[in-house]
Symmetry: D2
Subunit: 362 residues, 4 copies
């Protein structure tokens, strides 16, 4: 079985492991008040020269999301998010559990379009019986469907948020692949557009960890209090910081994402060439392919992938690459995809021949 | 500065680091559904032969506490805890943030006595205007003050809980030191007495991690759902499991605690011998000493410790040992404690001489 | 302006006012522990001979809904409701504020169909990444769109809930009109089908009040505790009880609903006859009519109604009757509706004539 | 049985009942957007000429408290309250259920003293491990023990709150009796001292209702949103407004309280004269008397009172007067108290005689 199940199936890149080993027996103050946490924040801040930010570290994604949202909102304020958003479909009601409603907006390839955001905002505000204030717009970049926001989209979303006094929050669990997908913007731009966002380490070369970046001055005070209350401060806080030092000191963050994207592109190109229907065209490290039952049966015994859903009688699967995926694994995958397609074509031919021969008999 | 600030100031024991390195590039399913998580649970279960348990892993302590308590309680049910309990004084209102009130019981050396528990239970139940049901008794072992529950106390607390239909939950963030403090009970006994408890890795040789042990069959279903909702499932879940494999496969869990306790005992014995008043007599790895201002001033420049509080004009400090503390560090500490005491004695004598001489002058 | 805005625009029927006056200076124990509360519960219980129930009283609807749902659910359990449900669109996130997610099901004339319920249940349960348990199905009867569940639908919904271990909860804010809409079931049937439901007094002749009926024995304990915690026990609890004594002692509950339904039917019949498009065909006291701008402009100056939404360029309005609506008011309304239609027809003719004449000129 | 159990045992004063009857069949918009609600707010505002306020109406006390506190606080902010406070002991964890911790301050006759408030604030702020911000100080006036804050105390509490950026909130469930207890301040002063407070109708002549007064401009926006979300807006909102029109239009609010206080004073004076120990000296309508078992047994069969607690072997009872209590009832009570005391004295004498006679026998 070759592993294409997800991008969090292996440990960490070597730079991080070396830092872990090297620092293992040094003594540190707890709860993120150590020198590594300071240094990690400085390195990340250096990538955001235009925007003085507060930077915190949280061990995992759902915990990061719920802490950020809890911090930003008053009880009557709600989140706007695409109906495919991670907080909507994969976080077990964590946002509702902290008391907030998520208004969903029909996604467009996993994204919220500026016009749909504006419409959703107005619909809530203009209905006097709703008594809820849209205050935070949650977007994932790259999205849960592997797509990436364009510069233009982000500028417009940011404008709308400013105009309507809403916070723009970016879930950057897969921000690395987004930034390396060929877009014309950088972390520095994101810091200008978003009020709060996180940079994901877990799915891009780290053992774990999200770096929370707060750019909006109104949101800076008391974040650590909410973090503590949410159980989101680690005793040995420097361990998360080490992930980000490892990822950003030598650009491993970008190299990992670039590597994963390139291999993913090979897979998508190959699938298209072989004639597989794509559920979604991706420019990042998640590839969504539609398999019929013959193809599915053939591939699931050779490749470890995630089932994303169904499409009529077919199955949508997700193939995920990561820093750890090798060219060799991708080559094997291509071969298997070809074989699966061949099997299917053969079966169709056989079926047709049977029909022809049975027709001839008549 | 010698480090006696806490027991979570360094990384992990070597057995865990080796596992991390060895497993780093293996591929695993996410969210704790991997083979290491299974194996870690099996090893821990093997320590609890009398009690078939469900075992889960959570990365840190407050997150573990809030997840366990959220899982156990209905909205109108409350926690009983000592007024010195971690959830009362050091978790930033995390329990209230998930909707539950904590009724505090005056501590006795950091512990809840059986009779005070019974009294607290009856007081709540008999007052018909309170409309709250005491359902979960939270105890820490060892306690926040370094003390340890006796077998007899735990048996009685467990009996009272069963009698009054309450869950007994043990916060085992420092369970290792408790078990190695000379008590006549083991993990297997704790599993029989408690409905749910956790075994702390963070403060006893691991990088992080609490192993949650659920023994009460009523509490087993759906724990993972609450865990997910609380942001308490790590993507690379095997990383927590590795901590517990490392700690329990070769008894490092016990060795670390034994080592820390022995060094702490030396410190406490030395302090007593030198004439320092003790804030609390400890049998584990946290030592609480009362320093006057001369001693405090002398020591704080040489030793990295935590200030616990004040006692009149004096300062209560906590000295903490861990798996990582060395005999050499303890020896230095003893020397410094002696010197601090000498300084004080000298200053008293000087003061007395001054008084004598000024009296003579008169 | 004639009042058709809602069914909670006036005080109460005379039977209740008489009880209020008569009992005003009697002395009672507080918090619903009085004789009137007992008697009101007995009268309601007498309508549910097949199902021994616990009956409580809560002053208003959102408070009743949030208390009932908080009482029924564990943190990871969610509500299934139509996307038109009151708790989804008109309660300001009250359910999320107590920590629970509401999964919405596309409505069919304001209702959940048995098949859509089954589908929604399976979709949640079969997706292993959701980590949420559907446990409570919320239906309104009559619905927010004036429609009513049939006996067959309720039997099937009840069956599905039992099969999948879910609670069926009916929001009976407008249960009176539902029961008097010609259905072949009674309160006694509803008690057999639902695990918990409420009977609305506010919108059917009372000053305020919902009678909460708990039929499922598992849900009976501790309801008052959740009620107290939610601020949902009134000091002078007998005041709510008086509403239900007044409504049920002489069948005013049924008479009020019958009266409102009959007048509503006249309005709907008249509107259809006049050629107005109906947004929804109702069998109860809420009528939804589509008005073009000429009709809208004409009517809004004569009738006090609620704007329900827009339909293309047209406006959907709701006309609501109640125990208090008079035949005279309905007669006026009919006249105005006729005039509004006449105006519109006239304007179309004028427009056509203009066109004809301008064509002739050419 | 004569009723001295509480001050919410009967309906309402006649002025309110007349308003209810008169307005019963008028038609109103819902949810407090009616003319009566506007007028009630205006009348109350006229009592607070120095402080432009937002005024809302909520049906009952716990609901008012939880709505106000939810509105004021961010997740990490906590309430400071006396350990005897209603929200601490009589509201079933309602404040914790909305996510906030209540730090208790040892009461001084039911009150928070300025110095104890300052100490409590500093204790929380200076401990860097607490991670909680004291933001709202909750006081009841009159207190749960019948005592009343002095002008000086309120001025100082208000100063401290301003100095430390905390909100001062007054629970005025029994504000009427406080204001008529002989204090040298008025509603207008309270509005200057408090950021938010409520004026209780339920316990002072109304059927129900708390008038919420928000004086701090920062707290004015969005209160109705939190109110709606908490289920704290009544459909027929004018009903609460009528209570306050009735109470304030002809000063019934003050007359009721004055009447209750005067009768209570008679009771307390009589009890003291008869030699009963007082649990607390009250200047309002709640009187706390200590009864031995003979007195208790005698009185409990003749008077309907509340048991407040125990004091050694004795029982502390609360006798409550209200707008509805009559001089005749108080006269009866005095007679019974005298008889109960006589019984006790007689029993002591008999006991002594027995002892004397048995001694003589020896």
């Amino acid at each position: 079985m070759i592993f294409f199940r997800n991008d969090y199936g292996e440990g960490c890149v070597d730079s991080i492991m070396q830092l872990l080993i090297k620092s293992n027996e040094e003594s540190h103050p707890g709860y993120g008040c150590d020198e590594y946490s300071k240094r990690a924040a400085e390195i990340i801040q250096s990538k955001l020269p235009d925007t003085p930010s507060d930077i915190h570290f949280i061990v995992s994604g759902t915990l990061a999301n719920l802490t950020m949202i809890r911090h930003c909102l008053r009880p009557y304020e709600v989140v706007l998010a695409a109906d495919t958003a991670h907080i909507v479909v994969h976080e077990a009601g964590a946002i509702e559990a902290i008391g907030h409603k998520v208004f969903t907006i029909p996604n467009s390839n996993g994204k919220i379009t500026p016009s749909s955001l504006e419409r959703a905002y107005l619909r809530i505000i203009e209905d006097t019986t709703i008594f809820q204030v849209p205050r935070l717009v949650y977007i994932s970049n790259s999205t849960e469907l592997g797509t990436v926001y364009t510069r233009n989209e982000l500028e417009k979303l940011s404008e709308i948020c400013k105009k309507f006094d809403m916070y723009l929050m970016m879930d950057g669990a897969r921000l690395g692949p987004a930034l390396m997908s060929g877009v014309d913007y950088s972390l520095n731009d994101i810091a200008r557009w978003c009020d709060i966002f996180d940079i994901g380490g877990t799915k891009n070369g780290g053992l774990f960890g999200e770096a929370i970046v707060i750019t909006n001055p109104d949101l800076k005070p008391y974040f650590r209090y909410v973090q503590k209350q949410s159980g989101a401060i680690m005793a040995k806080g420097w361990l998360i910081a080490l992930q980000f030092i490892g990822l950003f000191e030598n650009d491993d963050f970008y190299k990992c994402a670039k590597h994963a994207n390139e291999l993913a592109k090979q897979i998508q190109d190959s699938a298209i060439e072989l004639g597989y229907p794509m559920y979604m065209r991706s420019t990042t490290n998640q590839i969504f392919i539609v398999l019929n039952q013959i193809q599915y049966k053939y591939l699931k015994e050779r490749i470890d992938f995630e089932i994303w859903g169904t499409w009529g009688n077919d199955t949508v699967i997700r193939l995920c690459t990561s820093w750890h995926t090798s060219q060799e694994e991708v080559d094997y995958l291509k071969v298997y995809m070809k074989e699966a397609m061949d099997q299917y074509v053969l079966s169709v031919q056989t079926e047709e021949e049977k029909e022809v021969s049975s027709e001839e008999k008549e």
